[in-house]
Structure formats: C-alpha cells, structure tokens
C-alpha cells in the first residue's frame, strides 16, 4: 500500500514562510516531503495554518520565503498559467465546500473534466465518469440538485466526488469533517479512506480532530467487505502515513501514529486522547 521508499516526490516544502499584510506569519519555516502513495495528516487548532499550507502547496497562496515543489516542479514563482496544468493533477476538497452554487451537482462534478485545457472528453464519457464518481460517494441520485438543496454532509460528499473525478495523483482535503455530526463524519472519513486505498492516491488531509487523523493513520479500506479495518502495525510503522502537527504556523511534530502516541509535547498531547475501541 503506502511505501516510504523509492516513490516519486509529489510535494516538498522548504522553509516555507507565508505572511499576510498584518505581518504575522501564517506559516513559519515549514519543511516536509511527501512521496507518491503516502498520506499526511495536518493536525492543528483553528487558525494554525492548515488551510494556508494546503493552498500554498498548489500555488493559490504564494510563499513570502522558502520554496515549494509540486510534482518536482518549483512552483514558488511559477506563472499562474503554468500552474493551471499542474493543478489539473491535484484534487481539492475545500473547507467551505467550494461547490459552485449556480451549478447543479452534475455540473459541479463535471467541471474539472470540462475545464482542463489538455484533456477533452466526449459528453458521454464525462457523464459516465460523473455518475461513477457520484456513485462512489453514494449520491448518484442527486445529479440535478443544486448545492443549496443538499445537507452539509452531502455537500462534502459531492466535494469528494469532484476532487476525485479526474483520478488525480494528489488529493487535498481541507477539514472534511468540520461542522458535521459524528456519524456523518465517520461516513466522510470512510469515503476518504476508500478513495485513497482503492486508487492508491497520495493524500493530504487537514483536520483539527484527532479522531479523523487516527482513522487515516491506522485504518484502511477493505474493498471486499466495503468497510474500513485496522491496518497491521507493521504497515503503520513503515511510515507511509504521517502526522504533521501545526501550531501557530510552525510545524511542531512529524511522525506516525505510533510516534504521536508516544510524544511528550504538551500541545501534541492535547490532541491525542486514547480512543476506546
């Protein structure tokens, strides 16, 4: 499944600092690497810089200092025009949903297929893929609905479908469970695991909920049973899935599920509550 060795580099941050007008650093000298097939959990309190980090990694926000490499390309100062082609290989679920509220669910999910400059899909092919992506999140019956007619959880699921419809090499999820009830949150997490493990997609998920990180770090999707199950401990130890803990823009911890459980840092400890099974 995930491998820590030999994979292509997908994303690299080198001493990245992001400052907005008010001069306080939203990201402060953050460095990390992400290889193909790996996962990262960005864990941190609200305002710790998770969203800024995700947006910086696809050039929606430019770093004030440091460098960002996406698929091996230095995107720090890359013109928007060239970025668009790189971004076509990335799927994103935004925290606020980011669904176009003037478009139907079908049009929303079809959007990345229809607006990529290089790939041109026939209309039947687009429809087939859209339905497939929506079936994946079990929402194929909502094709003609507008986002405003959907519940919060359903919007996130449409967002997941849209993020994955192009079968991107990298998927970013920004706080996918924020504001959802625990049951819906688990459904969403199951879908994220399913998307990651059926296609072996490189995944970065931002969250302030340790439970979400715990699921991503130590569970996997079983295609036979259609459920998620605990991953073997050797797999966890191999370190394909790591936590990146952010505190006020600084990266204060990087490590696996086993590492984070053993961590002594009080800020990290606050997140790690032992979960009863």
């Amino acid at each position: 499944m995930s491998s820590a060795d030999g994979g292509q580099e997908v994303l690299r941050f080198e001493e990245v600092t992001v400052r907005f007008e008010d001069e306080v650093a939203a990201l402060n000298r953050v460095s990390f690497r992400l290889l193909e097939g790996e996962s990262r959990i960005l864990l941190g309190a609200a305002g710790s810089g998770k969203t800024v980090l995700l947006k910086t990694s696809i050039g929606l926000i430019r770093p004030s200092e440091g460098r960002v490499y996406l698929f091996g390309t230095d995107i720090t100062e890359l013109p928007e025009d060239d970025l668009i082609d790189l971004r076509a290989r990335v799927g994103v679920l935004f925290q606020e949903g980011g669904l176009f509220d003037s478009l139907t669910v079908e049009e929303n999910v079809a959007y990345p297929l229809l607006n990529q400059r290089h790939a041109r899909f026939a209309p039947e092919e687009v429809r087939r893929r859209v339905i497939e992506a929506l079936r994946f999140v079990e929402l194929e019956h909502t094709l003609d609905k507008l986002p405003s007619e959907l519940s919060g959880g359903m919007k996130r699921r449409v967002g997941i479908a849209r993020a994955n419809v192009t079968e991107p090499a990298l998927v970013l999820y920004d706080s996918p469970t924020a504001g959802l009830d625990p049951i819906t949150a688990t459904t969403i997490m199951t879908l994220i695991l399913k998307a990651r493990d059926t296609k072996n997609t490189t995944t970065v998920m931002a969250t302030h909920r340790y439970q979400d990180g715990y699921l991503l770090a130590s569970y996997r999707y079983n295609p036979v049973t259609g459920r998620i199950e605990r991953a073997p401990v050797e797999e966890i130890r191999r370190g394909g899935t790591k936590y990146l803990v952010l505190r006020e823009g600084r990266l204060v911890f990087e490590g696996t599920q086993l590492d984070i459980e053993a961590c002594d840092d009080p800020y990290v400890k606050k997140f790690v509550k032992r979960l009863q099974d």
Binding site: K55, I58, L60, E80, D81, I84, D85, R87, A88, V90, V92, F94, Q95, E96, G97, G98, L99, F100, D101, Y111, P112, N115, Q116, R117, R162
Partner: protein, 252 residues
Amino acid sequence: MLDLLKGPIYSFQEFMLLMGRAFRNLFRRPHYPDDLWMQMDIIGVGSLPIVMLIGFFSGAIMALQMARALNQYGATSQVGPIVAITLVREMGPVLTALLVAGRNASGIASELGSMKVTEQIDAMRALGTDPIQKLVKPRLLAMCIVLPLLTIIADFIGLVGGYLISCPLLHLTTTSQYWSSAWRALEYNDIAQGLLKPFAFAIVIALVGCFYGLQTTGGTQGVGRATTRAVVVASVWVFVLTFFIGKLFVRL
C-alpha cells in the same frame, strides 16, 4: 500622512493590475460566450426598465424647468436643442452609469464576494479555470457592450420625455421643429463625448465591482463591505471621469 495614503495607493495599484490582466485576457482563449450572454442579460435587460424610467423623467424635468427661462427670452423653440445637448452630452451617460453602478457594481461585487468567501474562486483556480477569464472578462465585456446601448436608449427616451412636456403639454414648439432642431443641434463632438463616456464608465463599473468582489475577506460581513465600497467607489469614479472627459472635449 504617508501612512494614510498607503492603503489607497496600494489598492489603486492592485486595481490597475487587475485591469491589466483583464485587458490582456480579452482576446485570449478560452472565451465563455454563455457567461457573456448571461451577464448582458443581467446588466442590460435587468437595468432597462429603470434606465428608461429615469431617462424619461430627466428629459421631462429638463423641459419643464427650461420652459420658464426660455419663455423669458422668447426662445421657447430652443427647448429641443437644449434637452438634446444636455442629455446626450452629460445627463444620459452620467445618470445611466450611476444607476448601473448602483445596480450592477453592487451585484457583481456581492456575487464575486460570496464566491470568494465560500472558496469558490479558489476552487475555480484549483480546477484549472482562470477567474479573470471566467468571471471578470464576461462582466467587463458585457458592461462595455450594454452600457453604451442603455445610454443611447436613455437619451432617446429622455428626448421623448422632453417632447411630451414641450409640445402636447406646454405648446412651446411644434413637433417637427422639436425633433429637427434637436437633431441638428447635436454635433459630432457631442455624440463622440456621449459614447466615449459610457464606454469609460463601463470599464470602471465592471472592474470596480470585480475588484472589490475578488478582494473580499472576512466572511459574510466582508461581502456587505465589499458591496458598499464597490458602489461608492464606482459612483465617485463616474464623476471624476466625467470631469476629465469633459475637459478633454472642451479643449478640442
């Protein structure tokens, strides 16, 4: 003092950057004809009733006010030219632009603003669409096409309003004299001015709306702020431009 100016100057610079990017993309693909069409419908068809109403009344009021003054000099037959020149040169473009600024600069700013705060603009960029192309360009083009047309309609309806007051109501002059003198009074200069203005206003209204919309931060409240600012700034610019364009033509 310098600190006080820093904000506006920075904004102006950003605005100019947006303008540059919008114009650079004007002839570059992809084009979004559906969006252009929809914006023309929203701005043009949507504003038509109010523009006609205000055009009519400004012509009518002008004729009414002029009647007494002209009567004193025994020059009531001049009502046509006076209404025509004032409307075509000044009132038509400015009033139409102010109405459209109120209706559409705010509409554009609030629409793009809510898209910004719900991360739809980010989503657009992330999904490979340039918001300048997809959002700014259709609005700019639609405004540039539609505002001059609205102005022409407002001018004409204003002349009709002036006519209804002058001839059937006050019998200042005859129908044929009103129309022929109004038409003869308009020089090339007036018409050029009357068409250049709405074009310049269109650029400013559309871009100011887009600019404040795209700059929105701070959630739903921010959308309200952006909307208000867009209307105020666009309206002020309409007057500033009127002055400068007027000056340009007076020198001629």
